[in-house]
């Protein structure tokens, strides 16, 4: 009996180690990737990945990790278990942000200096097309239904709607000053865009491509020019959205039905990117200037822990 339970315990612990969730954080100034166990709230290790790593994404099957190493002018492919470098993608100059299509076979990269979006076929590692967009493209995302590729230009203040079949711009929506990030609701019906300089969140209808709501943020004790929304993410049931408010050091919780700002949560300094845990029970934030990530428990909507990870944490992705 005793032996039996021990065996069970051993088996259980083996399973939990094998399936332990990992959070990956790119460290812009350390040229490295931090690997964090969010359950224990511990930094497990840091591995070198290349110069000035910023954008990060996992392949849909969680086998590969893509990291934009901006100063190497490439996007590197890593094995998501061993962190061995497997190859490089021809991203063009100074890649920062990129997006994968839902199938995970195409990658779209913002080339800020050249006002271009580069379309890459991942399997052949070939550039399929370069699309001319506005000045300083930054935010980039693909709708979950794979209909739209969105590129956001920071200086032109525009959202470009690119048809994924033709790779051509079909429409443009003028948005508030210095738009940064864009993300679709999981049903692909809305696009949420943050404007850093105007301090707003814009909710755009995918059908009409018109702004249906402008959400403003007010944090007591902080002047409006410190509220600079960056990362934005919406949960799978479209109940709540979350917006990182940059140097306001807060994450705003937005009711995705009424668009009311329900709460602001204090995190680290200059919070810019966000990622859900795979079960969407937690939210992870990268805090650029306080060198840590914050863990937010979404059931209680409280910040449960900060974990120091390294210098200038930039992008974040979670692997089950």
């Amino acid at each position: 009996m005793k032996y039996q339970s021990l065996k069970w315990l051993l088996a259980l612990s083996l399973i939990s180690t094998a399936h332990a969730e990992n959070v990956f954080v790119t460290l812009e100034k350390d040229n490295a990737l931090a690997i964090v166990n969010p359950i224990e709230g511990k930094l497990l290790k840091t591995v070198p990945v290349g110069q000035r790593p910023r954008g990060i994404a996992l392949s849909p099957d969680n086998k590969y990790l893509y990291i934009a190493t901006s100063d190497d002018n490439t996007i590197k492919i890593f094995d998501a278990e061993t962190f061995k470098e497997l190859g490089k993608l021809p991203s063009g100059k100074d890649p920062e942000t990129f997006a994968l299509n839902p199938a995970g076979d195409k990658m779209y990269v913002s080339n800020e200096d050249d006002s271009l979006v580069t379309v890459i076929d991942i399997k052949s590692k070939k550039v399929l097309k370069q699309i001319k967009v506005g000045v300083e493209p930054e935010g980039i995302t693909v709708s979950p239904d794979n209909k739209w590729l969105i590129s956001v230009s920071e200086t032109t203040n525009m959202v470009h709607w690119i048809d994924t079949k033709t790779n051509a711009i079909v429409a443009n929506t003028l948005v508030d000053a210095r738009p940064r990030a864009a993300n679709f609701t999981p049903d692909s019906q809305q696009l949420w865009v943050t404007s850093e300089m105007a301090g707003t969140l814009l909710i755009i209808d995918s059908q009409s491509k018109q702004i249906i709501k402008t959400v403003n943020f007010d944090v007591s004790g902080i002047t409006n020019d410190k509220i600079q929304p960056v990362g934005v993410i919406i949960d799978k049931d479209r109940n709540k959205g979350y917006v990182a408010l940059g140097p306001a050091n807060r994450v705003a919780v937005i009711n995705a039905k009424t668009y009311e700002v329900e709460k602001v949560l204090l995190v680290g300094q200059r919070v810019w990117n966000l990622a859900f845990s795979p079960d969407q029970k937690r939210l992870y934030t990268t805090n650029g200037t306080s060198n840590d990530i914050s863990l937010i428990d979404l059931e209680t909507q409280t910040v449960t822990k900060s974990i120091g990870v390294g210098t200038y944490p930039w992008g974040v992705a979670a692997k089950p």
């Binding site: 506005g134 230009s153 200086t155 203040n157 929506t173 003028l174 249906i212 402008t214 002047t223 020019d225």
Partner: protein, 398 residues
């Protein structure tokens, strides 16, 4: 607009005027044209201390060109085309003649890169009042106060803004006793006046004040002369130098009798733009400028870039090229401009000065960004720099 108040936060929702551009239609539609003139005059190279920094002839104009490129990339999507016509008056020419003959009847938007002594006579011309002038050449506080004009916007930070930025930093460092060294030129005196205003504003003490005299002897023997010159009766924490043309300020560092930092027009300077600046997307524009110009962006380039971008932003948002509409938009609360400095820029409604942060830079390092943390303001911390609304001497109806 509907307001919902919470005990600790307020959220405001509003439906914006929505503009969606259909790309295909736009390409076929006739373009709306916005013409911008750029006026400057050739300058004689000033006396140089060394050959380290070559004289730059085209300060300002390349910034304007970069701004036009950015406006036109946006314009491709909005059906607007921006044109820049440059008027570079020869040294022996007359800028007012060029303005009257070639600019006043054809342009509504004019970027002016001229010293204060030339800007004022130009902006006083009755024909100039029908245009909107973007001053990218002066830092004079008088043009933003007693001599302010409703049709002139000032892009460069004034001397008062620069002095306040440095004073905030010195206050934070507790360098409260200042030794003020003033050059022989009238501009140096104006800079020193701004420093004195800041000292008073932030309750700092100028314990000694001396004027640097240019004698050929002194120039040759800076090594020995500065040591003697920098001895004061009362001890000081920091040497504040007012030498706008850079005729002696660089001599001071490392040569003072007691070891003291140098701040002001040399040493640690306050500037709207600097090559050491790379945060908030600044790297991108530094790259784009360097590629285009083959040199670093100077503050006049940055200001001219912002002037063109302000016109572009107003034209895009209003979908107009009419002066009155653009001017109203530029002065409205909704106008914001990205200056790659982490804070939205706008114009002060009381004197037409561009509201902007200032970089405190040493030659190879960015030391701080003003407003310095802790200097608070009920509206925007940017208004802790320079003449705030209650202090202004500007009365528009002139």
């Amino acid at each position: 607009m509907r307001l919902i108040k919470y005990p600790f936060l307020t959220s405001v929702f509003s439906i914006l005027t929505v503009i969606v551009f259909n790309f295909n239609n736009v390409q076929a539609a006739p373009k709306q044209i916005i013409n911008i003139a750029y006026l400057t005059q050739e300058q004689n190279p000033p006396v140089a201390l060394s050959n380290l920094d070559p004289f730059i002839k085209d300060k300002g104009v390349i910034g304007a060109e970069l701004g036009i490129n950015d406006n036109n990339t946006t314009g491709e999507f909005t059906g607007q085309q921006f044109n820049l016509k440059k008027f570079i008056v020869p040294i022996d020419g007359n800028v007012n003649d060029t303005f009257t003959k070639e600019i006043s009847s054809q342009f509504k938007y004019l970027i002016v890169n001229l010293p204060a002594t030339q800007l004022k006579p130009l902006s006083d011309l009755p024909a100039a009042k029908e245009l909107l002038l973007f001053d990218v050449g002066t830092t004079d506080d008088s043009l933003r106060n007693e001599e302010c004009q409703r049709h002139v916007l000032h892009l460069l930070p004034s001397r008062a803004m620069r002095a306040d930025a440095l004073a905030q930093y010195m206050m934070k460092k507790r360098w409260t006793q200042w030794f003020l060294v003033i050059g022989p030129n009238p501009e140096d005196k104006l800079y020193a006046d701004a420093i004195k205003r800041s000292a008073k504003r932030f309750n700092m003490k100028i314990v000694a004040e001396k004027t640097w005299e240019h004698t050929y002897d002194a120039r040759r023997t800076a090594q020995s002369d500065v040591a003697v010159f920098s001895q004061t009766e009362d001890p000081y924490d920091v040497l504040v130098v007012a030498d706008e043309q850079g005729q002696f300020g660089e001599y001071l560092d490392y040569r003072t009798w007691v070891p003291r930092p140098v701040i002001g027009t040399q040493g640690l300077i306050a500037t709207p733009w600097h090559k050491t600046h790379e945060q908030w997307g600044a790297v991108q524009i530094q790259h784009r400028f360097l590629e285009k110009a083959g040199r670093w962006m100077e503050e006049q380039d940055y200001s001219a870039y912002l002037a063109v971008r302000a016109i572009g932003e107003a034209a895009t948002r209003t979908q107009s090229n009419e002066l009155s509409k653009l001017k109203d938009y530029i002065f409205s609360d909704t106008f914001t401009l990205n200056g790659y400095t982490g804070t939205p820029l706008s114009f002060r409604a009381w004197d037409g000065q561009l509201r902007q942060p200032l970089l405190l830079a040493a030659p190879r390092s960015l030391v701080a960004i003003a407003p310095i943390d802790g200097f608070l303001h009920p509206k925007t911390e940017l208004d802790t720099l320079g003449y705030d609304q209650p202090e202004t001497h500007c009365q528009w109806n002139k």
